[in-house]
Structure formats: C-alpha cells, structure tokens
C-alpha cells in the first residue's frame, strides 16, 4: 500500500507529556507563553490577558485581531494551525461589551489560547473574518452572524445558515431577543409556511442551469422582486 501523505504527529514541539488537568483553579493558573509573545509582538494591541481555569484569554483590539491571528498561525514558534471555534457572547448586563471569541489550538505544541475582541455597545458589530487563514471558519462565522448579527468583514459568503434566508425576527442569541421569538405564534407560523425553504433556490444556484424559466410562477415573481440571499 502506498503512503501518499506523511503522517502529522501533534506535540512534536514539546517534550511534556499531556496529563489530565486536576485541581484547576477557578482564578489564575499557568499563563500561556503565547500571551506574552503576542504582547511583545503587537505592543498596544492587547488590552488585557486573563488567566482563569487554566486557560489564557488574550483580549485584543478589533482592528488588529486579524493580524494577530495571522501571526499566531504563521509564526513557527506559535503555530496555532487549528481553529477550534468562533463564537460570540452577549452578557445579561446589557452595558457590558459584546465579545467575539476565537478558540485556537496549536497541534504542534499542544497549546490552547482564546483570543477575544470586545465590541462596546453602540459600536458597529463588525470584526475581520479569519476565513483567509482558516477555511474552517466559513460556517462558524456564518453561524455567528446568523445568531448574533456580527458581520465578518472579508467573509466570501456571509449569509444565514441555520435559519432560513428570509428570517425576519432578528438575531436569536442576542439578549434582547425573547425566548419565544419576537412575533406572535400565528405570525411565526405564517412566515415559516411562506418561507418554504425546502424548495427555495438562490439566484446563484439558479444560474447553474438557467433554470429560472422552469420555476413556478410565484417563485419567479418572488425572485425577480429582488429577494436575495442574506440580509
């Protein structure tokens, strides 16, 4: 059997054997070496470093987060080549800033770091996309946009993913969104039935086969009326 790929072994950059964390302190713990490296590399961009429950959080400015994540990815001494998650947090105390969170892993050094951007209330909800660094960010950013309304500048195809494209009630994971939705039950039902997402194609998809003319009349009317994918 031929072996087209060289096997990649994580942890080649560190000698330490990983162990199950025990007695993890709620506050404090060992700080990740990457935090100091980021602070040294980007003076002024890091507003705070928090260490809690054994995890290091680097809070950076929105303007430079792309640069910092790019550096963490490319720099051989950091080599954060794996993006675990992109998500956001809004607090119940609505005066607290909304946070966008990136969870990065370095397979080579077996490290984990959390990069965070705080968006003060009232500011534009926009952060740079890391899709050009990690292709895996595609759907994670789309979901974050879908749930929180945060725009990821530079994402190639930022539209709703879990909710259907004509969803009108807003962004469900925001704290001002009530648990049962904004609309009345009857209105929700009406919207859901008229959305008909199972037989819906975007104009982009219809351009594949010049299938527009074959559609039912009501759908043709809807699409030619300027209905688009996304917001």
């Amino acid at each position: 059997m031929s072996h087209p790929f060289t096997i990649v072994h994580p942890g080649t950059g560190s000698d330490a054997t990983p162990v199950t964390p025990r007695n993890v302190p709620v506050h404090g713990g060992p700080i990740s070496v990457s935090a100091a490296a980021v602070e040294a590399q980007f003076p002024g961009a890091v507003s705070r470093v928090v260490v809690a429950r054994g995890e290091t959080t680097v809070i950076v400015s929105a303007a430079r987060v792309h640069e910092i994540i790019q550096w963490l990815h490319d720099e051989p001494a950091q080599s954060y080549e794996y993006l675990s998650d992109v998500t956001a947090v809004e607090f119940r105390d609505l005066s607290q800033p909304l946070e966008v969170v990136w969870h990065l892993r370095s397979l080579r050094f077996r490290r984990f770091i959390r990069v965070k951007v705080q968006i003060v209330k009232g500011q534009k909800l926009e952060v740079p996309s890391v899709w050009d660094i990690y292709k895996g960010a595609d759907w994670l950013e789309r979901e974050c946009y879908d749930m929180f309304g945060i725009k990821f500048a530079g994402h190639p195809d930022l539209r709703r993913i879990l909710l259907w494209e004509q969803y009108k009630e807003g962004f469900p994971l925001r704290k001002d969104f009530p648990l049962r939705g904004r609309f009345s039950r009857s209105e929700q039902l009406k919207n859901a039935l008229s959305a008909n997402p199972e037989s819906r194609y975007s104009m982009e998809e219809l351009s594949i086969a010049d299938a527009f003319e074959d559609l039912p009349a009501d759908m043709r009317k809807r699409l030619s009326g300027g209905e688009k994918t996304g917001e």
């Binding site: 059997m1 199950t20 025990r22 506050h27 675990s84 077996r110 990690y134 879990l162």
Partner: protein
C-alpha cells in the same frame, strides 16, 4: 485523484462453463488491486451545459435533513452548495434559561447517537466551570460510558454507510451489536437513547450489581463482530472500489478546514483529544490512535473500525481498574442529597430545595472543555455570570465543521460518490442544526 492500490479478494461473478464458480479479479489496471481511474471525458456536444440537482432535505442517503444543491457537468460534480438548519431548535438559546443540570437532557438530543458521551462532556465542562474535581470511581464510569457510546455511534455509522453503498448484512450485524450497548446503558441509567446520565459532580446513578459482568460479556464477544464485518468489507472489491480515492483531504487541508475525529486522522493527522489534551485520565490508559495515510473514504472506514477495537481495549482496562467508593462528590451545594435524607433531615431538605429551586451557582468566568466524541472534537464553551444559569452555552459541533468541507471533498467526483463521501463524514443533523 489518488492512485492507490488496495489488495482485494477475488469476487465471484457466477458459474463458469465447467460448473465451478468463476473467479475474476475486479480491477482496472494495476496488477493486484483496484486503481481508480479518472472519470471519462464528457461527450463533446454536452460540454459546458451544467445541470442543477437537488438532494434532500428528505432523502434517505443524506442521513437527516441535509440538503445538497449540486452543479453537475454530466455526472461529475462541479460545485456543491450545502444547506443546513432544517432541524434548528435553538438549544443554545434555551440553555441560557436553564440551570446546569437541566441542560444535560438537551445534550442528549444534539448528537443523539452519542448521547451519554455528550452528557459526560457537558458535565466535565460544567465541573471545570464550578471548580469541582470528580471522584475516582466517577472518572472510570464516565470513561466506560464514553467508550460504549463511541462504539455505538461507530456501529451506526458503519451500518448506515454500508446501506448507502449497497451492503445490507453488516448493517444488521452492527445494529444487533448496538442493541447490546443500548441494553447495557438501559440497565445502567434506565434509558437507551436519551440517557441524561451525568450530573454536575457525579452521575445520576451508580452502575447496578452484575452490570460489570454484562460489560465483560460485551467486551469478549464484540471483537468477533468487528472481525465479521471487516471480513465482509475490508477486502471486498465492491466496497474498496466504491470508497478508495474518494473525498481525499490532505493533512494540511484537513487541519485548515478544522476537521476533527476520524476524518482528520484518516488524513494522516494523529490528533486525538484524548491523547493531546487528555481528560478523565485518558493518558493512563494504554490505547493507540489509528491514523490513515490517504485521507479517503476507505481510510475513514479503517480508522473507525480500528477505533472500535481500541475502545474495547480501553473498556477492558477500565473494568479492571474500577475502584470502589462514592460516585458523587461530597458537596451538598451541587449534589442532591439522597431521597430518604431529604425527607427525614432538615438540613438535607434545605439542600435539596436550594439545589432544585435555585440550582448550583458557579463562580463568574468562562471555560472551554473539549472531548473526543465519535465525530471529532466536541467542545462546550460556557460563560457564567455567577447566577445559576449560563450566560452562554456554546456547543462546538464536530460534524458541523466537518460537513462544511463537503464542497471541497465532492468536487470533481461522480454524483454517486457524493453519497459515499457524505456518509463518510458521519453527520448527525441534530448536532449540526442544534
């Protein structure tokens, strides 16, 4: 497309003129196996005319309500546009209105083939948030739960993928074996699918008497079933021909796309959360991480089969080391008192009341705890503001991220291979749509 040679057994095509079964090697080119040829070129008059095909959301081969819109050139996929979200129920939103122990039933329902594994993962995350260290016995019990559910999930994967590709018998065998796993789980927690087995700081119940004997029986008989399934599939010319060289992801691509679990390991990256970021004392168990070398559907199959064997090894060691002692930690602030005490002692009744009505309160802060679920790296990110309900409960769904690479995987393959590639990702729509 990878030019890969795999040893296959000769297949029987029928009776020869001499009355004996005629044996013909099933391969195209090469000397001892199947090599995958590039799809034939299009007929010239049809070139350039593309076709739109819609698969799903109600389609038996999409493993749930997944919808794929495909652009085809002849039978070759040019572009794939996946649509998800038909099963979205807002788990994360509901979690913000529930106490930590009340979220555990929701974790059953996201990745419902691995429900007890999700319970374990969520409890680990909540315990990190609370700053709790669980007991030795609970650790070993949770390892057993997680590995049993990994076996059950891989069995469902193997069975359904066989159905998709056209083999029926391994489906029956693997579902029969999965039944044994579910019988064990039923004997332990009373439920088969929606287990809700863990609590913050312990388990809902200790294992009953003689349960370990049932587990030992399963450990001794299960490897035989894997061998049988492997005999049906691993060198089967049809299986090999339909899986080799499909959906290839190189190691760099797989890491960049955020793939995890058997998909990533089949691509030759030996990343396993149990080894690299261990939890539940996995570093003390002796097991191997199977790694593929070609990153195709066939390698994903081999990796999953080997993972089941390794799970059996872990279960075997867990049975041997299971210590006596309490399952739950001794902390009345998070653990419910026993019922007889709650009805007879004043203090226990107050603890019971506080725990049920208010719920345990973790300190302010956040944590991200990832485990190796059968699908990959499953993470729970929880943020607490000091109240008994999380501000944010985020699921990092492995199959969601894995599925996002499907346009890349199916590009250039035939329409029928889309089904095999989609099956190889092992998606659970409950987890993807949440």
């Amino acid at each position: 497309m990878a030019n890969r040679t795999v040893e296959v057994e000769l297949s029987t095509t029928g009776m020869g003129p001499d009355g004996k079964p005629q044996r013909v090697p099933l391969f195209v080119g090469g000397d001892a196996g199947v090599s995958v040829a590039a799809p034939p070129a299009m007929e010239p008059e049809l070139e350039g005319e593309h076709m739109l095909i819609n698969i799903g959301p109600q389609h038996p081969a999409t493993h749930g309500v997944l919808r794929l819109v495909l652009e085809l050139d002849g039978e070759t996929v040019v572009r794939c546009i996946p649509h998800v979200g038909y099963l979205h129920c807002g788990f994360e939103k509901i979690g913000e209105y529930r106490q930590y122990n009340q979220i555990i039933p929701w974790t059953d329902r996201e990745d419902y083939l691995n429900s007890i594994g999700n319970n374990v993962a969520f409890a680990l995350g909540a315990e990190r948030l609370f700053g709790i260290d669980i007991t030795e016995r609970c650790t070993v019990l949770r390892v057993m739960a997680a590995e049993l559910s990994r076996i059950a999930s891989h069995l469902v994967w193997m069975g359904t993928t066989c159905i998709d590709i056209g083999a029926f018998t391994p489906f029956l065998w693997s579902f029969q074996e999965r039944e044994n796993v579910y019988n064990l789980l039923e004997g332990w927690v009373g439920a088969r699918l929606t287990t809700s087995a863990t609590r913050v700081g312990g388990m809902a119940a200790d294992i009953p008497d003689k349960w370990i004997d049932g587990l030992k029986g399963f450990i001794s008989t299960f490897p035989k079933t894997i061998d049988e399934c492997e005999r049906m599939l691993t060198k089967n010319a049809i299986w090999v021909g339909r899986t080799v060289g499909l959906g290839v992801m190189s190691p760099d691509e797989a890491i960049n796309y955020g793939l995890s679990g058997p998909l990533l390991r089949a691509s030759g990256v030996a990343y396993d959360v149990r080894k690299d970021f261990p939890y539940l004392d996995y570093e003390t168990y002796d097991f191997d991480v199977p790694v593929g070398s070609a990153g195709d559907v066939y390698d994903r199959f081999l990796v999953r089969v080997e993972e089941m064997r390794q799970s059996i090894r872990i279960l075997d060691q867990a049975v041997k080391r299971l210590p006596d002692g309490p399952v739950n930690i001794d902390d009345p602030r998070v653990i419910l008192p026993p019922k007889h005490k709650a009805t007879s002692e004043m203090e226990s009744m107050i603890h019971h009341f506080k725990n049920v009505m208010e719920g345990p309160r973790p300190p302010i802060g956040e944590c991200y705890v990832a485990v190796e679920s059968p699908k990959g790296e499953k993470g729970y990110y929880m943020v607490s503001d000091g109240t008994s309900k999380p501000v944010r409960w985020r699921i990092r769904p492995p199959s969601y991220v894995n599925l996002s690479a499907i346009p890349k995987m199916v590009e250039g393959h035939l329409l029928s291979d889309v089904i095999a590639i989609n099956a190889s990702i092992d998606i659970v729509m409950g987890e993807i749509d949440r």
